[in-house]
């Protein structure tokens, strides 16, 4: 399988990466090289094989149902959360107008 220039442009748009003509021209053969190479995985008979979901057997833990059980990942840290925002106003993240 190989991808066309239009398909790469579509993928770039889905991935929210702006790409100019020159960059697309460069990317298309590079991606096709990689995709051609991974194509060999099709040779492997994987019927009856389960796709891996966890590399080391582990169970999902439940923690006690307590508010703010782990301070570092809990609430009440608005200033910390906003500290690195390029635009923050009135305690919120700032973004360009979304609704006309």
């Amino acid at each position: 399988m190989s991808v066309t220039r239009e398909e790469v442009a579509k993928i770039a748009s889905l991935a929210r990466i702006k790409m100019g003509d020159e960059e697309l021209d460069r990317m298309v053969p590079e991606l096709n090289n990689i995709l051609d190479w991974v194509e060999q995985l099709g040779e492997v008979d994987t019927s009856g094989v389960e796709p891996m979901t966890a590399v080391i057997p582990n169970t999902l833990r439940l923690r006690d149902d307590v508010v703010d059980a782990i301070p570092e990942t809990s609430g009440g840290r608005r200033e910390d959360v906003l500290a690195n925002a390029p635009v923050a106003e009135h305690g919120f993240f700032g973004v360009p107008k979304v609704i006309e």
């Binding site: 993928i11 991935a15 080391i56 582990n58 690195n84 107008k97």
Partner: protein, 493 residues
């Protein structure tokens, strides 16, 4: 005066504890060594004050007769993939330039709690994507090593190339690394040092900039097996903030180290004998077998039949996870902001990500987006995850017949920076021997084996059963004792 910069983790810790020298003296020496090694470009930012403050705290504890910790008085380099409170954390990307976390990663906090200090944040391949340290926004890292008779700057490996370069150049006694598909082991092999990736889940991923979450593992890089054991003890441990953290006690790896391998079986995977592998590497593999036999182990042949498919499966799985993880870089909550005139929200995202990501990162995000997209998901992603199961089953079967696997770490020695840039695929092949253990989540280590005829270091890799870091470290120690690796790069920086 003792040349403190020649000392490793154990020597510094023990020397400080016994009062042979102070932690401050050691920190000052390494700070000076770091400051004079700008040509290596191993650090993105240096933090001499952090190292001195931590050292003074250890010296004060000693004066009060308190416990100094597992890493008491040891200044280290911190890969710039770990969030460090108040200190710029970039993952070597433009999109995170200037980002100063409000919190500390679990692994770095554990190291500070164990008495270590920070010399600075180490350069790496951007978002840990690369095998040569040429994808950093902050410039290439040079290896301290040179090929005999040439002056070309050599690759320190990647992605933990700032870490490998700094430790090999003796401007840091040890450094943190992270390994997604070989990013600790390959740079360790390229620079003649040790590095271990523990079992997936041993080290918390909390506060580590995510690349491929089902593969990412932190680990130590240092100049000896003992130093790696000490530092891994300080880094590992259960963390409720990481859903995949292993709820297991951390073994006393250092205290249990033993190079006596009597009764152990070492597996030699026949599929790792690949075309294109340097003769010097094949020779060092033979020598490694002889050394482990000399340590009392029995050598047995094992088969890992899906080895050849591990790397292409990795290059579907890792980019797929990366495309999802890197969706967070939107210029809203942190990082670069670029708002073209009259642009809406979607245009803003696209402009920021275009300006903030390097070529290799874009390539992997696009591949990941493609293989996860409707219509292609099963053919690529599901198939790759099934092959991942087969790779893991290969190891399970092999470990029914042996205790530890011995293989080369890389198919070649280091190469000059810029020499493999033409084709991303050639670069990917560097990790052909490292990736299978990553896909299976297994503990794996690289130890120095020899220098090749060009004067460049080569590494040998040891892979163990899940949770058997001890078996890996012990076999590594047996090789280390027999190799007696003393080669050092000649100082040119």
């Amino acid at each position: 005066m003792t040349a403190y910069t020649q000392l490793g983790v154990k020597d510094i810790r023990d020397g400080v504890a016994s009062g042979d020298f102070t932690a401050r003296e050691v920190a000052e020496s390494f700070n000076a060594a770091v400051a004079s090694a700008a040509e290596l470009n191993a650090f993105i930012v240096t933090t001499p004050d952090h190292a001195l403050t931590a050292a003074d705290a250890v010296d004060a504890k000693r004066a009060r007769g308190e416990d100094l910790g597992k890493m008491g008085g040891v200044p280290i380099g911190m890969k710039d993939l770990f969030a460090t409170k108040g200190v710029q954390t970039t993952a070597a990307s433009h999109i995170l330039e200037g980002f100063k976390p409000e919190y500390e990663s679990t692994v770095s906090q554990k190291l500070w709690d164990a008495g270590a200090g920070m010399l600075g944040k180490l350069n790496l391949d951007q978002f840990a994507m690369g095998s040569s340290n040429e994808t950093s926004y902050f410039g290439n890292v040079s290896s301290p090593w040179k090929k005999d008779g040439t002056n070309a700057a050599m690759s320190p490996g990647g992605s933990s190339g700032g870490s490998s370069s700094a430790v090999a150049a003796r401007i840091a006694p040890a450094a943190t690394g992270t390994d997604t598909g070989g990013s600790i082991r390959q740079p360790a092999a390229f620079t003649g040092i040790c590095g271990i990736k523990p079992t997936y889940g041993r080290c918390s991923r909390w506060g580590v900039v995510a690349f491929a979450s089902s593969l990412d593992q932190a680990g130590p890089m240092a100049r000896s097996v003992e130093d790696c054991a000490i530092m891994l003890e300080a880094m590992a441990g259960f963390d409720p903030k990481d859903a995949t953290s292993l709820q297991m006690d951390v073994p006393n790896w250092e205290a249990t180290l033993s190079a006596d391998l009597k009764g152990k079986k070492i597996g030699i995977p026949r599929e790792y004998r690949m075309d294109g592998t340097d003769q010097a590497i094949l020779d060092s593999w033979e020598q490694g077998k002889a050394m482990l036999r000399d340590a009392g182990a029995e050598i047995v042949d094992v088969s890992l039949p899906h080895t050849k498919y591990a790397l292409p499966a990795y290059y579907i799985i890792a980019p797929a996870e990366a495309s999802s993880n890197l969706a967070r870089y939107d210029g809203v909550r942190y990082g670069l902001r670029d708002l073209p005139d009259g642009a809406g929200l979607q245009d803003m995202y696209a402009a920021i990500r275009a300006a903030g990501f390097g070529d290799e990162v874009k390539r992997r995000v696009l591949i990941g987006t493609y293989v996860l997209s409707a219509g292609f998901y099963d053919a690529y992603y599901t198939q790759a995850q099934k092959i991942r199961t087969l790779v893991a089953q290969d190891f399970e079967k092999a470990f029914a017949e042996c205790d530890v696997i011995l293989a080369p770490t890389t198919p070649t020695a280091s190469f000059p920076l810029g020499s493999l840039n033409e084709d991303p695929l050639t670069m990917y092949l560097n990790d052909v021997f490292a990736v299978p253990a990553s896909l299976a989540g297994l503990p794996a280590m690289s130890v120095p084996a020899t220098v090749n005829p060009d004067g460049l270091p080569l590494g040998l890799q040891l892979v163990g059963r899940p949770f058997d870091e001890q078996g890996v470290l012990n076999a590594g120690l047996a090789i280390q004792q027999r190799v007696g690796f003393e080669a050092q790069p000649e100082k040119w920086w």
